[in-house]
């Protein structure tokens, strides 16, 4: 059983928690001392590079480019995934096309497959990268929003129907607001996948972006820059989640 903690225990847990972080950094520092820099640079070197990168305009520009692509891709994936889910929900005879054809195929489509196809089909650039990211993110949005539609309270809809026969009005005033929490959890998942997996789009066929910088650092065996870039992604991911997604979720908590 998960025992409840007293305040002293909570302080101890906190200390141990931060202690683990310190210990990890220490272990990293110790093992980096005996390894060449191209295998594992020390935490100090990586930290210093992180600060250097933060004041390099070229690096910041690439971060901006990647963030912009990620945001556009999430918006597009939410829109397309949501439209597909609504289509399957509102037009029953189309449901199997979405549920038994489009969703399973997109869901099992390997992400690297999209990246390679885009590299073959499109010129390197924003469009190709966003295409790949959207293709990877759609199934996550589709599945979450479809789940939300399944959980919509039928009685609320019936009540809505007793007030109006205008289907667009019901969709706008009732269905969509009820879907907001699911849309948010879709956004949260898509945001994580975008930074962690969909960045593969920038490894093949992109002349800019964080993924491109990572690949360039890796090919040049510049592990310090590479690790610093990885931590930039961690920071971006955590910042987006803490500053945007969590407040939004709190604002639209499931009622």
């Amino acid at each position: 059983m998960r025992a409840e903690q007293t305040s002293t225990e909570r302080v101890a847990a906190r200390l141990i928690g931060e202690g683990v972080v310190v210990l990890a950094l220490l272990a990293w520092w110790l093992s980096a001392r005996h390894l060449p820099e191209f295998i594992l640079p020390g935490p100090v070197a990586v930290g210093r590079r992180l600060v250097e990168l933060a004041v390099t305009p070229e690096f910041l520009w690439n971060v901006l480019v990647s963030s912009w692509r990620v945001l556009v891709a999430i918006a597009a994936a939410l829109f397309i995934g949501g439209a597909l889910a609504l289509l399957a929900y509102g037009v029953p005879w189309l449901a199997d096309i979405v549920d038994a054809r489009i969703a399973p195929v997109l869901n099992s489509f390997p992400s690297i497959g999209w990246a390679i196809l885009a590299a073959i089909w499109f010129d390197p650039g924003d469009f190709g990268v966003i295409f790949v990211e959207v293709a990877i993110l759609i199934p996550f949005c589709l599945i979450n929003i479809a789940e939300g539609l399944r959980n919509i309270d039928r009685e609320l809809l019936e009540m809505g129907q007793s007030f109006t026969r205008n289907r667009a009005r019901i969709l706008w005033r009732l269905t969509l607001p009820l879907l907001v929490p699911y849309g948010l959890s879709a956004t949260r998942i898509a945001y994580g996948i975008a930074w962690k997996i969909a960045l593969v789009a920038e490894l093949l066929g992109a002349p800019s972006g964080i993924g491109y910088l990572m690949l360039r650092a890796q090919t040049a065996a510049d592990s310090t820059t590479f690790l610093a870039t990885c931590f930039v992604i961690v920071l971006l991911f955590v910042a987006g989640e803490r500053l945007v997604i969590v407040p939004l979720e709190r604002r639209f908590a499931r009622r």
């Binding site: 059983m1 998960r2 025992a3 903690q5 225990e9 101890a12 847990a13 906190r14 141990i16 928690g17 931060e18 202690g19 683990v20 191209f38 295998i39 594992l40 029953p92 005879w93 189309l94 449901a95 199997d96 096309i97 038994a100 054809r101 399973p104 195929v105 869901n107 099992s108 489509f109 390997p110 992400s111 690297i112 497959g113 390679i116 196809l117 590299a119 073959i120 089909w121 399944r150 994580g192 930074w195 962690k196 997996i197 960045l199 593969v200 490894l203 993924g211 990572m214 690949l215 890796q218 065996a221 592990s223 590479f226 690790l227 870039t229 990885c230 992604i233 961690v234 991911f237 955590v238």
Partner: protein, 263 residues
């Protein structure tokens, strides 16, 4: 949905047109693909027929099946390792409250926010191009999934059942094996199913950049030779395989386990 269970008989017939429409959609898609492939050069878009022939070659060629075998090995090894590590971390957090914050608020979120691409390229720098690289990269990416899901399962344990068990035995090992683990079975299967899906997404990327065998490596070779037909065949095969295993093996397995232990 509840409505379909109590639907009158005449509505059962309504299922058939839906299926028919879905099949028509598949045909229309293939037709559109075929028509587009007539216009586009085959290195951009091979025809469905070429891809079908390549698929047949794929399932009859020992070399191609060998790549599938390597990929399967990578996936299985990585799932085993990461599930063990993730479940152990979750159990430690559960039994040692002092370490809970360290695991759930520090180690978990860190692993969860570190990019899969980062791990892949990093493990290439560490281990070179080898199966170890691939297995390591997939494993680290999967650990947070196992940790989060198993923690959710442990948090969901019925306190009364644990109390009852405590009245029978004080041996924690016995309780873990006889009560805690069986109550976790539904979560274990759900976790493995999620991990299987994610593993495939990461495996091909890891094999493409850091493998010397496996389907990702095969796709990479085809890419260098502009052999788009093989790329298409490999992608379609992977979709069919991943969806098939998930739908016809893991799904029923999970359903029967949940029925048995949750009922």
């Amino acid at each position: 949905m509840n409505a379909s269970r109590t639907a009158p008989l005449w509505q059962a017939g309504a299922l058939a047109p839906r299926k028919l429409v879905a099949h028509l959609f598949t045909l229309a898609f293939l037709a559109a693909w075929g028509a587009a492939s007539l216009v586009a050069p085959s290195y951009l878009l091979p025809s469905p027929l070429q891809v079908a022939q390549r698929l047949w070659l794929f399932v009859t060629s020992a070399r191609d099946l060998g790549h599938l075998g390597s990929s399967l090995f990578h996936v299985a090894a990585a799932i085993t390792i990461s599930f063990t590590v993730g479940a152990l971390l979750a159990l430690i957090a559960y039994y040692v409250p002092a370490l809970r914050l360290a695991i759930e608020r520090r180690i978990g979120p860190f692993l969860n926010s570190f990019s899969a691409i980062g791990w892949t390229l990093l493990s290439i720098m560490w281990f070179g191009v080898s199966p170890l690289t691939v297995v390591f990269a997939i494993s680290v990416v999967l650990v947070p999934f196992a940790l989060v899901n198993m923690s959710a399962g442990l948090a969901d344990l019925d306190a009364e059942i644990i109390e009852m068990a405590q009245s029978f035995t004080r041996r924690r090992g016995r309780m873990l094996l006889r009560v805690v683990v069986p109550s976790l079975y539904p979560f274990i299967f759900a976790t493995l199913r999620i991990m299987f899906g994610v593993a495939w997404k990461v495996t091909l990327t890891a094999e493409l950049f850091g493998g010397n065998n496996g389907l990702g490596y095969m796709i990479n070779l085809a890419r260098q030779e502009f052999d788009t037909t093989t790329i298409f065949a490999a992608i379609i095969f992977i979709i069919a395989f991943v969806h098939g295993v998930d739908r016809y093996v893991l799904g029923p397995l999970q359903a029967s386990v949940s029925r048995h232990y949750a009922g």
